[in-house]
């Protein structure tokens, strides 16, 4: 993760074709593996609500809007609530080959928090953060907000020291 979070300069390496085949096979195996973790009944389907977790656990950072676009491509014509591997695999392979949904570097994330820190004092109050994240952008559900606060909030000051929070989560992820 550390690598993903760091500054990732555009390094498009054009590989010879025969390498590409192997790379595709490798990528497909990775996707199938992630898919199967959520395929409880081993019948090559997963609940549509798990797709976000699968895509993201493969190192992608799609927004909710992008995720919905992706879902539209992999869903059956008449949505059943389940996604089939055979539909998901080619779409996801392309996503990984094209490197869509680029990682968010740590410094960009820090800037985002700073942007919300009006007074540039290194923290955001609980009320401010809840307001921004549940009312703006692609709003958090109450559960998401509570989960985030359970880790991010300093209960004594009722604020979020975002630098500490980011480094804690990033270390945990690496």
């Amino acid at each position: 993760m550390k690598k993903l979070m760091g500054r990732d300069k555009d390094r498009e390496i054009t590989k010879p074709i025969y390498h590409l085949d192997r790379a595709v096979a490798e990528i497909e195996k990775k996707i199938i593996e992630a898919f199967e973790v959520f395929d409880h009944e081993c019948n090559k389907t997963v609940d549509v609500r798990e797709i976000g977790s699968i895509v993201r656990s493969l190192g992608c950072f799609p927004t909710e809007a992008e995720l919905h676009e992706l879902l539209a491509k992999v869903e059956e014509e008449e949505p059943t609530g389940y996604i089939h591997l055979e539909k998901f695999l080619p779409v996801m392979t392309k996503v990984l080959l094209d490197r869509s949904y680029r990682p968010i570097p740590e410094d960009v994330l820090l800037h985002a928090f700073e942007a919300l820190d009006e007074n540039k004092c290194g923290y955001i109050t609980k009320e401010e953060l809840v307001k921004y994240l549940t009312e703006e952008g692609e709003p958090f559900t109450r559960e998401e907000m509570e989960d985030m606060l359970s880790t991010a909030l300093d209960p004594e000051t009722n604020t979020i020291r975002y630098r500490d929070y980011i480094s804690m989560v990033v270390v945990d992820e690496s």
Partner: protein, 669 residues
């Protein structure tokens, strides 16, 4: 903040500062920042979710693999139980007529009173029969304070319970008209805290508060005995308001492996044998299912395409003391199969029918032998799991019972005019799960089943309209609530720990599997080959690529140093005399050997003779088809008879074969 509206006023003020809101903090900036943070946060949560899921997969795969080993070895255990004729061996209490007299029908409360003294120094609860609510409260109080109930009262309670259970039909019929709501609880598995929490949240059983407990009260947890005592006490007080269904763990052979036998022997040194013997009978008298308002069927596992409720209603349920001992005719057939095919576990994903010995003859075949039919009917309702695919196929993960699809459920519902099936038997992260279009509900009441934070427990409240309502809970030993990151870290490291033990126990097989891919003997293979080798040997259906970073080292070229997955493991106390292959065998079959030890150990003295050990060992290894030289065994035996008195402290010996982790990884690594 209301930035946009307040901006003009603020600007006009003298004390305007750059920090006060907002030409800087435009709406667009806020939205962009919010989207970015939300995106990043959802990413980190997804990664955590993935780690949580694969950790649960590890636990479950290992659990089912163990269950399957147990079933695979049922022939052997049956053989041991049948042939272990040592005069005072423990197995004797299960078969000998002299001991069964000890717990015979005629045996009444006063006899235990005369035979077993309760010393004045005993400060636990004292029961008098018939039991009252005060007795039940005293028991709850005592168990909260970790006291034991004296063996005399346990035996008396079990005798009384058996009397009551004997009067009950195989399938209990209940009606919601007598009580406002009925509470249904699933697996408890010896987690007393869960039962106490359910009673605290939902009230004690009473005429106004009806309960159904759906099996698997015992095994795995530390307080199986206490759970049974509480449930049985309330059963005696409110026989019409508390109902028990038998689970697949209410089975004395299962108890040998999964801890209940050991728990009883440890807690009741003098009367453990008697208690276990009586329990074997009590378990066999537990009703098989409960039906509410003729509409809701409650049973432990599930159904198959041959499940026949009328047949189940009529059979003599107490004849089947253990499902792990199939009727003779099945055993013969399995023995034949055995000779042809070595024990290999089938893959979940591929159809491996016929490749492995399956304890059930599941499918549409109706056995002609009546004993066989009874056994199969009960096996199917105690061991099966629902699946979303249609049809009825053998339960390959567990090795017993079947998988039943929505069509099987629909057919049974039509035949018996049912509306809902409530079953337990399967771990669920949320404590419950709804399947088959809302027709089948799984309820699992043991929270933190695999590890602190691994899952919630739940129970169902059924109102007179038969609409289910779920109540979830989690017992926590921590005063401070762990956050999500910490919880996942704990579960993950504990799952990886059991996985590493499994890996170590298959060291030689893995090493040769790796070597097949390593043609040049570099000690390094590709990730793909490494993953293939891991799966071919362990067959746990795990995401090996994802787990690789936790299990083995990789060089910058992306190759796996395959021997590194054994680096931080070692056997507790290395015994020089024992060759490595033998150590691995002992390590892998430690649990099975423990069971065998429990069977042949005289009176739980903890000691067996060298001769007994050698004979058993030879039988066991030949049953498994393991080739161990006699010389190696002789050396081993000599090395473990520490004081050279011709006896072995077997459990101490096995302790030496625990896998130890050299460097405990950080919880969050």
């Amino acid at each position: 903040m209301g930035c946009s509206s307040s901006v003009p006023d603020r600007r006009s003020e003298k004390d305007y500062t750059a920090s006060m809101c907002a030409p800087l903090l435009s709406v667009l900036t806020v939205i962009r920042a919010a989207i970015l943070i939300q995106n990043w946060y959802r990413f980190t949560m997804a990664r955590l979710e993935m780690r949580r899921r694969y950790s649960l997969s590890i636990f479950q795969s290992i659990e089912y693999a163990d269950e399957q080993d147990q079933l695979q070895l049922s022939n052997f255990f049956t053989f041991m139980l049948d042939h272990c004729t040592h005069p005072d061996s423990v197995s004797h209490i299960f078969t000998s007529p002299s001991v069964s007299q000890v717990v015979d029908e005629g045996l009444c409360l006063t006899e235990f009173e005369n035979k077993i003294d309760v010393p004045d120094s005993y400060y636990g609860p004292r029961l008098s029969f018939p039991l009252t609510v005060e007795d039940a409260n005293a028991l709850l109080h005592a168990f909260r304070n970790e006291q034991l109930l004296h063996a005399r009262y346990v035996l008396q309670l079990l005798c009384e319970t058996r009397k009551v259970l004997k009067e009950m039909p195989n399938i209990t019929h209940l009606s919601t008209s007598y009580s406002k709501e009925i509470t249904v609880c699933g697996d408890l598995h010896g987690n007393l805290d869960d039962l106490l929490l359910i009673f605290y949240k939902n009230g004690l059983p009473s005429e106004q508060n009806c309960y159904v407990f759906n099996g698997d009260f015992v095994d795995r947890g530390k307080n199986s005995m206490e759970i049974l005592i509480i449930l049985f006490a309330f059963l005696l007080i409110y026989p019409n308001d508390l109902h028990l269904n038998r689970g697949n763990h209410e089975d004395y052979i299962m108890n040998l492996r999964y801890g209940f036998t050991n728990e009883v022997s440890r807690k009741y040194k003098d009367h453990g044998k008697q208690i276990l013997c009586l329990l074997r009978d009590v378990f066999s008298w537990l009703p098989l299912a409960t039906i509410i308002d003729s509409k809701v069927l409650i049973l432990h596992g599930g159904i198959s395409d041959t499940t026949d409720l009328d047949f189940l209603k009529a059979l003599e349920r107490n004849k089947l003391k253990s499902l792990m001992r199939p009727p003779k005719s099945v055993r013969d057939r399995q023995d034949q199969v055995k000779e042809r095919i070595p024990t290999t576990r089938p893959s979940k994903h591929q159809n491996a029918a016929g490749k492995t010995q399956h304890i059930s003859s599941s499918g549409s075949t109706e056995p002609s032998d009546p004993a066989l039919k009874e056994w199969k009917q009960i096996l199917d309702i105690l061991w099966s799991d629902p699946r979303s695919q249609n049809g009825c196929t053998p339960n390959k993960c567990r090795g017993g019972g079947c998988y039943f699809g929505p069509d099987v459920t629909a057919k049974l519902f039509e035949r018996y005019n049912l509306k809902m099936l409530i079953r337990s038997h399967e771990f669920k992260p949320e404590g419950y799960e709804i399947s088959h279009d809302g027709k089948v509900i799984t309820i699992f009441s043991a929270s933190n089943y695999y590890e602190e934070g691994s899952n919630r427990g739940a129970y169902i409240k059924l109102n007179p309209e038969l609409i289910p309502r779920f109540v979830q809970y989690r017992v926590s030993k921590y005063t401070r609530r762990q956050n999500l990151q910490e919880r996942v870290g704990t579960i993950e490291s504990s799952a990886l720990k059991s996985l590493r033990e499994k890996i170590y126990a298959h060291r030689s097989e893995l090493t040769s599997a790796f070597a097949q891919y390593d043609l040049n003997g570099t000690g390094k293979i590709s990730v793909t080959d490494w993953a293939a080798a891991m799966e071919s040997v362990l067959q746990l259906e795990l995401p090996w690529r994802m787990l690789r970073s936790h299990l083995a080292q990789m060089n910058p070229e992306g190759e796996v140093d395959y021997m590194s997955c054994f680096y931080d493991l070692k056997i507790g106390q290395p015994i020089k005399e024992v060759q490595p292959a033998l150590v691995e065998t002992l390590c892998r079959y430690r649990k099975d050997l423990e069971i065998i030890f429990n069977i042949i150990d005289k009176d739980h003295s903890g000691l067996i003779s060298l001769e007994e050990f050698c004979q058993t060992w030879k039988l066991f290894t030949s049953h498994l088809g393991i080739d161990v030289h006699d010389e190696a065994i002789d050396k081993l035996v000599l090395s473990i008879d520490y004081n050279k008195d011709g006896h072995i402290d077997f459990s101490e010996f096995l302790q030496a074969f625990h896998v130890v982790h050299r460097l405990e990884k950080k919880a969050n690594s």
